[in-house]
Each structure stands twice: as C-alpha cells, then as structure tokens.
C-alpha cells in the first residue's frame, strides 16, 4: 500500500470519528473540536489527491495543496468565531450546550441580559 492510500484511509476514518463526535457530544466546544477533526480528515483526502497528482517535477499537485492552505486559514477563522459565540452564550445564559430543551443552569450562573 502506498503512503497516499494509507493516509487516505486515515482521512476517511477521521471524518467518521469527527462526525460521531459532532452528533453525540452535548457540549458545544466538543462539537467544535469534532468539526475540526472532520475538517482535517477532508484536508487529508485533498492531500492524497495532491500526492497522486505529482507531476512536472513537483512532489504533489500544487492546486489541491493551495486549496488546503486556504481551507486551513478559513477553518481557523470559523473556529475562532464559533468559540466566541459559545463563550458569549455561556456568558448570557450560563449554558455550554446547544440543546434548547434543557435550559437548566445551576443557581447563580444565570445572568439575564436582554
């Protein structure tokens, strides 16, 4: 098995793992972490496409590599925004999850701000 195939299967497994965490974790921050795992799995899939496309004296196809770099930067921006949203949610409602059915916050942590 070439290293591209091996890491491609790795990427597929990462997407599955991240998806499971995204569905099953109640905490919003954990969902963000899981989403980042999915992202890195997808980037790895791009990476093997780049590796297999090695030609013209390059170690890999530069176009998917450039897309991954763009993607990493945008993923960071999205993560920073999502984290700020979660912190703001916790600040205003005391909740750390996204489930609207369970507003239950411990006494003293609630601060109404509206």
């Amino acid at each position: 098995m070439s290293e591209a195939t091996l890491f491609g299967l790795c990427g597929a497994a990462l997407v599955g793992l991240g998806l499971y965490g995204l569905i099953c974790h109640p905490g919003a921050l954990r969902k963000i972490l899981a989403f980042n795992l999915i992202g890195s799995g997808v980037f790895l899939l791009f990476g093997i496409v780049a590796r297999r496309g090695a030609a013209s004296g390059f170690g890999g196809d530069p176009v998917p590599q450039a897309l991954v770099i763009t993607g990493l930067v945008v993923a960071f921006a999205a993560t920073a925004l999502a984290v700020a949203l979660v912190l703001r949610l916790a600040q205003t409602s005391g909740r750390t999850g996204l489930d609207p059915e369970r507003p239950g916050q411990p006494e003293g942590t609630r601060r109404t701000e509206s």
Partner: protein, 318 residues
C-alpha cells in the same frame, strides 16, 4: 520507498489514536490538549505526503493557534451541569455510529477506487509558473493561478473579525479584547515572552521571504508573527489595542485593500481583474504578500484575543 512503511504506519496509528482521544476524552480541556498533539502528528503526515507548505500551515495554525484558542476557551467556560453532560440515548449513539461507519466506508471506497492515472493540474500550474517569476508552485497557485480564492480568503478573515467584535455587549464596545489577559505572569513566562519573539519574528519573516521559491509563504509567516504577539499579550508585557483604534483597523484591512487595488489595476494594465502586467508579476506578488502578511498576522492575533470587554476594575478581585 518501502523502507518508510514503518514510519508511515506508526504515524497513521498515532494520528488515529489521538483522534479517538479527542473524541473520547472525559473533559473538554483534555480533548483540547489531545488536539494540539494531533495537529503536530498531522504536520508530520503532511511532510510524508510531500506537502511541506501544508505541513507548515498545519503546525502553526491548525495545531498551535487553534489549540491555544480551544484550551483557553475550555478554561474560561463555566462547567457544564449534569443535564447538559448527558449523552444521547444508547440507540441514538448506535445509529450515529452506524452512520459514521457508512460514511467512512464510502470515503475509503473512494480512496481505493481513485482513477488511474491520477488527474493532475500540476502541468498547468507549472506552465503558468515562469510568467509569475515565483519558484514555489504553491505560492504561484495562491497568487496567480487561483488568486481570486486568496483574495476571498483575506476578506473572509476581515469578516470573521467583524463578526467576532460584534459579539461584544453594548457596554463593552470600545474596550480592549480580554480573552488573553490572565493573572499576573510569573517571571519564567515573562522571560520567555521577551526572548522568544525576536527569534519568532525572524522565523516569520524568513518564511515569508523564502515562500517565493521554497515552502513557506504569507500565511505561515503571519501565523508565527501572530503567535509571538499573542505570547507577549499573555505574558502581560503589552495590552491588545482597543477595537476603536484607527491604526489597528487600518492594519486589518490594508492587505485586502492593496490586493484589490493591484487586482483592479490589472483591468487596465493587463486586461483582466487580478492579472499582472508582463515583467511586473514578481514585484507585485511580493508587495501583496508583504501587505497580506501584516494584515493576516494582526487579524489572527485579534481573533485569538476575542471580543472587546468592558474594563471593570472590580474584575480583578480574586
């Protein structure tokens, strides 16, 4: 290359093990720790895939900055109460597991059935490379072949910062970002924050400079610069600027403005938006790279610093 097989296999197992840890760890803080180690191993994997450019970005941005962001968020977040800690019912989890297994199997099948010979855009990128005068194909793609993507990305970063700032409560507007301030730093941390940044700034500028011909470039350099700035803020040697600071705002947008300006000038000088006139491609690309490095570094640092917070003197009581 069969000699590298044990290394590859070890890296793959390490990567998957750390990913399982990130999902299965009992506390968010531990999961974030695992994520930093995971990013580090992923950077090694990218080296094995022949993409040192991506490995640099992953090490700096995916592991370093994202890891710090999540660690600090996990530390700031109030503890979840038991009702919110409850996992979904077992049936739901089994179903989710099955769904994820199906997705993984599908992707694995795609990986195994990729077409032979592999399609590639490398010759096309190589053909357009001499016109730009740049030696690193990835930099060439980012700034010539797919320059619109890069322009969009630099604008997305500005928008993300605006979104982040707009989360501030009304009373806090005009204040300084507060997510990075900590208890008074110890002498070891202050020492590190005084000694490391000069090296880091050198490395960042080096990455930008070699990015034209070797792996590296503006995003990698900017990330290292941002990390050094954030380190200085954490150590309490400097405070982040208030969001109303005019100079900061100019720094945030100057990269995108110059990019758009040069792109628009291309309409007259080279007959297309974002086309470079003959012979001027390399200096123009370098100008865009330098301006973008500055803006991206400032934006990344401000994204880590969080929305502005009201300066409440009572906040400091312990």
């Amino acid at each position: 290359m069969s000699l590298t097989a044990p290394v590859d296999l070890g890296l793959a197992l390490l990567l998957l093990g750390l990913a399982v840890w990130v999902i299965a760890a009992s506390a968010t803080y531990r999961a974030a720790e695992g994520f930093i180690a995971y990013g580090l191993v992923l950077a090694l994997v990218w080296v094995r895939l022949g993409s040192v450019d991506v490995a640099l970005t992953e090490a700096a941005l995916g592991s370093g900055l994202t890891g710090l962001l999540l660690l600090r968020a996990a530390a700031r977040l109030p503890p979840a109460d038991p009702a919110e800690r409850a996992r979904p019912a077992k049936g739901v989890r089994v179903l989710a597991g099955l769904l994820c297994a199906v997705v993984t199997a599908g992707l694995a099948a795609v990986v195994l059935l990729l077409p032979e010979p592999a399609p590639t855009l490398a010759p096309a990128a190589a053909a357009s490379l001499p016109a730009t005068g740049v030696g690193n194909p990835v930099t060439g793609v980012l700034l010539a072949y797919r320059a619109v993507d890069t322009l969009g990305e630099s604008i997305v970063l500005v928008l993300a910062l605006i979104g982040l700032w707009s989360l501030a409560p009304d009373a806090a507007w005009g204040g300084r970002p507060g997510a990075l301030t900590t208890a008074p730093a110890g002498s070891a941390l202050r020492f590190l924050a005084q000694v490391l940044p000069p090296f880091g700034i050198l490395v960042g500028i080096h990455l930008l400079w070699v990015g034209a011909d070797h792996p590296g470039g503006k995003f990698q350099g900017a990330t290292v610069l941002a990390a050094m700035w954030v380190l200085v803020i954490i150590a309490g040697l400097r405070r982040p600027p208030p969001v109303t600071s005019r100079a900061t705002r100019w720094l945030v947008v100057v990269g995108s403005l110059i990019f758009v300006g040069i792109g628009a000038a291309g309409i007259w000088l080279a007959e297309a938006f974002l086309a470079y006139p003959d012979g001027l491609a390399k200096p123009l690309i370098l100008a865009i790279e330098a301006a973008l490095t500055l803006s991206v570094a400032v934006i990344l640092g401000l994204l880590l610093a969080g929305p502005p917070e009201a300066e409440r003197p009572t906040e400091r009581r312990s």
